[in-house]
Every structure is written in structure tokens, then in C-alpha cells.
């Protein structure tokens, strides 16, 4: 008989896209001993544990059903900031926002940031997130100089990059251990502003050409793609490159956090907290087709090719402009779909993915393309090529068709030797993941799982879906 875990601990947790949910027993430890206690309780009660940071993984990586949920977000203490070595030593529940707010005035910026500042470092390392500088800086794991991990048996290990376990614990989606402390090497900056170059791009060929032209020059590159563009307009969008800038003053005011804060109104008038309510009626094919077209034409006519300064926060955290924007996708939620394709195949594969969407009348409402490079991590998603990230609205009616579309797009990626990114996945089948991650990496994962977590304490709905939880095999 399982010892009663109190129902008063229960909560329904969903992935960020709100398409998948599960009821869990929520625990929020504040120190390593409490982390060990939760793992111990899991062993005693026969339950499994799912790890969660800020809950920003879109699909089902941060949820499970009837498990203990270990939410790391209260382990959020910054221990020290070493100004000589540019290293921050902190608990792993520290968020990217805490990190930049605490270090900006000293001239530091997180080496890698996602499109939102919400993720915790533990979550960021579990998924090994990337940013708009992925083609030069790689994923965030490459900037960690040391970390502590609590293994499912309760042992604590301190890992450095030379330790073979280091590259497995980072990237393995929280299935091998609980990262509790991180030492991260920050990027030194002289100014809080970037020099940003927007370029309106007419088609796919133009998109890839600009990336190639600037890949040895720009510090950040990202492009937005209008997935409603057809024929000669297919692949149209707006490209942005950005460069770090120097300022002559010793302490430029742009390094003050309050000068970086995003405005609390849109167009100086609409309070941002309600903006999602205005987006909701537009959040359908017709509204989004119009909005995408308007954005494309605005980029062509206004400021095209004109460099301008922009704050690091404003440029980096586009997803934080509209609070609760995901509510515009209610009631069904949305999925994010991001595939990574080697550069020689990317133009064909991405054009084909968008064509398939148009054929199914399920165009992504937002398309974002970035440049990447390979990395040495176990569940790596890095390729010498490009990624295309897509947002699809999910409704009860379109769900089946949408998954069919995703599977058709998966097939293209697998055939091209591409990869997928677990933080954004909802639709992969076990075979898709196995094919892209490689049998050698998968075998190593199962060896490590058997060694470090023989009872398969750590799990997630994603792990069960992709066949990464050995406990499922015994059922």
C-alpha cells in the first residue's frame, strides 16, 4: 500500500502551451536536503518525480501524472558574482531575469538567453536552451564551469566540463539528476544597448543569403517568417541582426536595470496586462494572415535597413512584451514546433514545411528562424544549420489534423538528418526521437539511467511519450 501523500499537496500542472496537463503532488524545496527528502519520499511511496522550473517548456517535459513535482523555483539564491572571472555562483532555481538584474550594473549579461526571461537555470540546463546567438555561443551548457547535481539515490556530485557526466546531465531534460547549483560564465558588456539592423526580406532565398552574409559578423541574428506567404512571397519576413556596442563612459546609464525595463503600456496607452484580450479575437487564420501581412509591409516601408540602438532586454525578451499572451490561445492552447536542419537541406525542408501547412490550412501564426552550430551534449539539438520555430493553435477540431501535419513535417526533418528540441516538443513519436538523437546516444542515456536512476524515479510525460522512462517497459 502506498503511503498517503496528502491531497492538499495536489495541483494540476500544464506545459506552457496548455495542451497537456497532469495532476501532481507539488513540492518546492529550498535547499539540497529537502531535494533529497523528496527523492526519498518517492522511493518510499513508489511514486516518480517530475522536475519543473518556471514551467516554460511548451509541451509535456515539465509535467507528469500522479507524480511528485519538484519545483526548483524557490532555490533562487545568488551566492557570489566574481568580477575577475565573470562567474556567477548560484542556486539553480535562479531565473534569467534574476541573473541579468543582479549583474547588469557590473557589466555582465547572461551568455545565452531565451525569448523570455522567466526560465530557471535548472530548467535552462535541463533543456540546454539556445538564443539568437546560438551560431557563435552554442547552447547555455557551454558556458557552465561547474554544477552540483543531486542523483536520484540522494548522492550529490559536483561536475565540471571535463567530467563525462557533465554533458549528459545538461540536456537530458531532468531525467538523470536534479541540478541544484550552477556556476555560469557571464558575457562582459560595455553598454546595455545593442546596435540593431532590421531588414525586410522578400523570400526564402533572401533569408538564407542574409544569414550567410552576416554569420561571421553579427553577435545576434534572428528572422521572422510570414508563414502565410505563398509563391514568390514564400519565406518573406523581417530579419534582425544585432551587435554589442561600446560606450565611452565608465558606467553608462544603459547598464541600470530600470533603464532596461519594458514599458508597461503598448503605444503609450493600452495597459499591457489586458492586451492578450485584444489579441484573442485576432487569433485565427484570418486575423493572423492580416497581422503577418501588415508586419511584413510595415517592415518594408518603415525603418528598413536603418540601424538603431535597442536595449538588451527589449531585443532579447520578445515573449515578455505581452504578459499572459498565451491566454490568447485559450481554450485549446497551442503547440510550439521547432526543427533543426543542416544548412544544405534547410531551405528545401523549411519551404516544404510551410507549404504543407498551407496545404492543410494550418499555417503557423508565427515563424522564427535562427542559425545554430553543433554541440557536444547528450540530447543535443544543435546542427550546423538552421532552426524554424512555429506556433500552432490547438482546438478540439484541428488536433488530429495538426498532429498529422507535425508528423509529416517530422519525416522531412528525419530524412534530412535534422534534430528536435525537447523543450518545444509535443508531437514527436519515439521513432522520430531515436532517429534524430542516434542509437549511440540513446544507448548511453539508458546506461546512465540504469546506473544513476535504476528505479527510474525521475520521469515526465515527455519521457513516457518518447520511451525514455524504463519503468514503462516493465508495465
Amino acid at each position: 500500500m502506498i503511503r498517503a501523500t496528502s491531497p492538499s499537496r495536489m495541483v494540476r500542472a500544464t506545459g506552457f502551451g496548455m495542451t497537456e496537463g497532469g495532476d501532481v503532488y507539488l513540492y518546492r524545496p529550498t535547499n539540497v536536503q529537502e531535494v533529497k527528502d523528496i527523492l526519498q519520499m518517492a522511493r518510499e511511496t513508489g511514486r516518480q518525480v517530475v522536475l519543473r522550473g518556471s514551467g516554460r517548456s511548451y509541451g509535456d517535459a515539465n509535467i507528469a501524472r500522479e507524480c511528485l513535482m519538484l519545483d526548483i523555483s524557490r532555490m533562487n539564491q545568488i551566492y557570489s558574482i566574481n568580477k575577475q572571472s565573470a562567474e556567477v555562483d548560484c542556486q539553480a532555481g535562479v531565473t534569467i531575469e534574476q541573473l541579468w538584474r543582479s549583474t547588469l550594473e557590473d557589466g555582465f549579461w547572461p551568455p545565452i538567453v531565451s525569448g523570455t526571461m522567466a526560465p530557471t537555470l535548472a530548467g535552462a540546463l535541463g533543456m540546454n536552451i539556445h538564443g539568437k546567438n546560438a551560431y557563435v555561443a552554442g547552447p547555455i551548457g557551454e558556458h557552465v564551469t561547474e554544477l552540483d547535481v543531486v542523483l536520484p539515490n540522494g548522492d550529490v556530485r559536483t561536475l565540471k566540463p571535463e567530467n563525462p557526466l557533465f554533458h549528459a546531465v545538461i540536456s537530458s531534460a531532468g531525467l538523470l539528476g536534479v541540478i541544484t547549483r550552477v556556476r555560469l560564465k557571464m558575457k562582459r558588456i560595455k553598454s546595455g544597448d545593442l546596435r540593431v539592423l532590421p531588414l525586410s526580406v522578400p523570400d526564402w532565398a533572401g533569408q538564407f543569403k542574409i544569414f550567410e552574409d552576416l554569420e561571421h559578423d553579427a553577435d545576434y541574428m534572428v528572422t521572422w517568417i510570414d508563414c502565410f506567404g505563398r509563391g514568390k512571397h514564400a519565406g518573406r519576413g523581417v530579419f534582425h541582426a544585432a551587435w554589442y556596442t561600446q560606450e565611452n563612459e565608465e558606467f553608462p546609464s544603459t547598464l541600470r536595470p530600470e533603464n532596461q525595463d519594458l514599458p508597461d503600456t503598448i503605444l503609450g496607452f493600452f495597459p499591457k496586462s489586458v492586451v492578450w484580450r485584444f489579441l484573442k479575437p485576432l487569433n485565427n487564420r484570418f486575423g493572423m494572415r492580416a497581422l503577418n501581412a501588415a508586419k511584413h509591409h510595415a517592415s518594408r516601408l518603415l525603418g528598413n535597413g536603418k540601424q538603431h540602438p535597442q536595449g538588451l532586454v527589449g531585443f532579447s525578451f520578445l515573449l515578455d512584451y505581452v504578459p499572459n499572451w498565451r491566454n490568447a490561445y485559450l481554450p485549446g492552447g497551442f503547440i510550439q514546433y521547432q526543427s533543426f536542419v543542416p544548412k544544405e537541406h534547410a531551405p528545401r525542408v523549411f519551404a516544404e514545411q510551410v507549404r504543407l501547412q498551407q496545404e492543410a490550412k494550418l499555417e503557423s501564426f508565427l515563424g522564427v528562424m535562427k542559425r545554430h552550430k553543433p554541440d557536444p551534449f547528450l540530447f543535443s539539438h544543435g546542427v550546423d544549420g538552421y532552426s524554424l520555430a512555429l506556433d500552432f493553435k490547438v482546438t478540439r477540431k484541428n488536433r488530429e489534423k495538426l498532429w498529422q501535419l507535425a508528423h509529416a513535417m517530422n519525416d522531412l526533418v528525419v530524412a534530412a538528418g535534422g534534430k528536435f528540441y525537447l523543450a518545444k516538443d509535443s508531437t514527436l513519436r519515439p521513432a522520430d526521437f531515436q532517429a534524430t538523437i542516434g542509437s549511440e546516444n540513446l544507448a548511453r542515456y539508458f546506461d546512465l539511467k540504469a546506473e544513476l536512476d535504476p528505479e527510474s524515479i525521475l520521469t515526465s510525460s515527455l519521457a513516457k511519450r518518447l520511451g525514455l522512462d524504463p519503468r514503462e517497459f516493465s508495465k
Binding site: M1, I2, R3, A4, T5, P7, S8, R9, M10, V11, R12, G21, G22, D23, G46, R47, R65, E66
Partner: protein, 239 residues
């Protein structure tokens, strides 16, 4: 879509039939009852879809642990149905505590012990459907079945209170008030009865709709009248 369900009192009658229909539709159903052999028969018809638990609802101390066990085994909970109920034949002039006590234990205490577990969980997760089988018999105290009537009236009021606690969070809290239905419990009654398959289908369809529901419009009208019948006349009727 109901992915996982718990049905307490699933070895016969409406509980059995709801379990059967849910399993047929693809739901994973945990069936709880005293008579394990009957549950296992059902499980054999739907391999992998039915989990059986032998339990007497009057063993109250088992309930919290068993509820934890079942939700763990199921891997989730979308629907909880309390369908246990007893109605011994009671004579017009019979005052037998021996016959009355099981009705209090099963129809009231067992219901509270089980539904409290499910309600606390759903209060926190803000997800699920909580359904109890009441009865049209709970609408009035009638001379033929004092304790059965009172036990169902208790259940209706208790469920109303639970509904007022947790329906605001989006949990469906449903009281079903069936009339006479073709089940073992009513085998001794000679009257027109609703086939149990029909009753079960209606219960599943209503399980997402917070509120009290009769299973036929005739009952709704008839019991509206009966409920509002003046007491000084009602007591003179032989009902």
C-alpha cells in the same frame, strides 16, 4: 474525453453499467466493490481497461489509502462516481435498526468518506467530474422508506454543499436522481423501470454538467409537483 475514472459500487446496477460503457469507449476504469468475482468478469471483457479493487465501503479506515493507491495505479482522475447504495425491503410498520443501519453506513457514511477524498483532490487540482447517484426517493420523506429517503436527501444536500465549494473552480459536481431502474436493488419492486443501459448512458452524458439531474423529463415534472405538495395532504396519501 474521460481518460480515467473511479467507480465505487461497480459490481452491479448503474455502477456496473457505467463502468462497462466507459471501458467500451476507451476510458481506464478503476472498479471498486465487495464482490471481486463480478469485477473480474467485467475486467476480462475489457483487457487492460479495468482495474479491480475489492473493498467494503463501510471499512472507512481503508478509504484514504485505497484512494491514493487507485489514483496512482490509474495515472490520473477525470471522473469519480459514487454508485454504492442499499435499499432493503422495509414493511409499512417495520422499525428495524438492523435493516436501517446499512443504509446509513453505505448510502451516507461510505459516500462521505469516498467523496471527501475525491472532492479534496479536485478542489486542489481544479479538474475533474464528481458524480453521486442520489434518487427521486430523496425528494420527500415517504412512509414506505423512511431511512432510504432520508439517506438520499442527505446525499443531495451534501453534494450541493460540495458543489458550492468546488464547482467555482471548474470541477463538475453532479447529483443524479434516477427513478426506478432495472437493477438488483429494485428487483422486488413491481413498477415501470428504466433499463439500466439507458440510465447509464444518461449518467455519462450528464457527468460534465454541474447540478442536479433527473433522468427523464417526466420525473422532473412529477417530482416538482410531489416536492411542492402541501404536507397536510401528502401525509394522508398512501405513497
Amino acid at each position: 474525453m474521460i481518460k480515467e475514472a473511479i467507480i465505487v459500487g461497480a459490481s452491479s446496477g448503474m455502477g456496473y453499467e457505467v463502468a462497462r460503457q466507459l471501458a467500451e469507449a476507451g476510458t481506464k476504469v478503476a472498479v471498486v466493490a465487495r464482490r471481486l468475482d463480478r469485477l473480474e468478469q467485467l475486467a476480462a471483457a475489457f483487457p487492460g481497461k479495468i482495474l479491480c479493487y475489492s473493498h467494503d465501503v463501510t471499512h472507512f479506515e481503508e478509504i484514504p489509502g485505497l484512494f491514493q493507491q487507485i489514483t496512482h495505479d490509474l495515472g490520473g482522475l477525470d471522473l469519480f462516481l459514487y454508485a454504492s447504495g442499499v435499499m432493503p425491503e422495509v414493511g409499512w410498520h417495520e422499525y428495524s435498526f438492523t435493516k436501517d443501519k446499512p443504509m446509513v453506513d453505505v448510502n451516507i457514511s461510505g459516500a462521505v468518506a469516498w467523496i471527501n477524498e475525491a472532492a479534496e483532490r479536485m478542489d486542489n487540482t481544479r479538474h475533474g467530474r464528481l458524480v453521486a447517484i442520489g434518487s427521486v426517493a430523496g425528494e420527500r420523506g415517504r412512509s414506505q422508506q423512511p431511512v432510504y429517503n432520508a439517506s438520499k436527501a442527505f446525499l443531495h444536500t451534501y453534494m450541493e454543499a460540495i458543489r458550492n465549494r468546488i464547482a467555482r473552480h471548474g470541477v463538475a459536481v453532479v447529483t443524479i436522481k434516477p427513478g426506478p431502474t432495472e437493477t438488483e436493488m429494485t428487483a422486488h419492486l413491481k413498477m415501470k423501470k428504466m433499463p439500466v443501459e439507458v440510465a447509464a448512458r444518461k449518467i455519462i452524458a450528464l457527468s460534465g454538467k454541474t447540478g442536479e439531474h433527473f433522468l427523464s423529463p417526466v420525473h422532473a415534472v412529477a417530482f416538482f409537483i410531489i416536492r411542492n405538495f402541501p404536507s397536510f395532504i401528502f401525509r394522508k396519501l398512501k405513497v
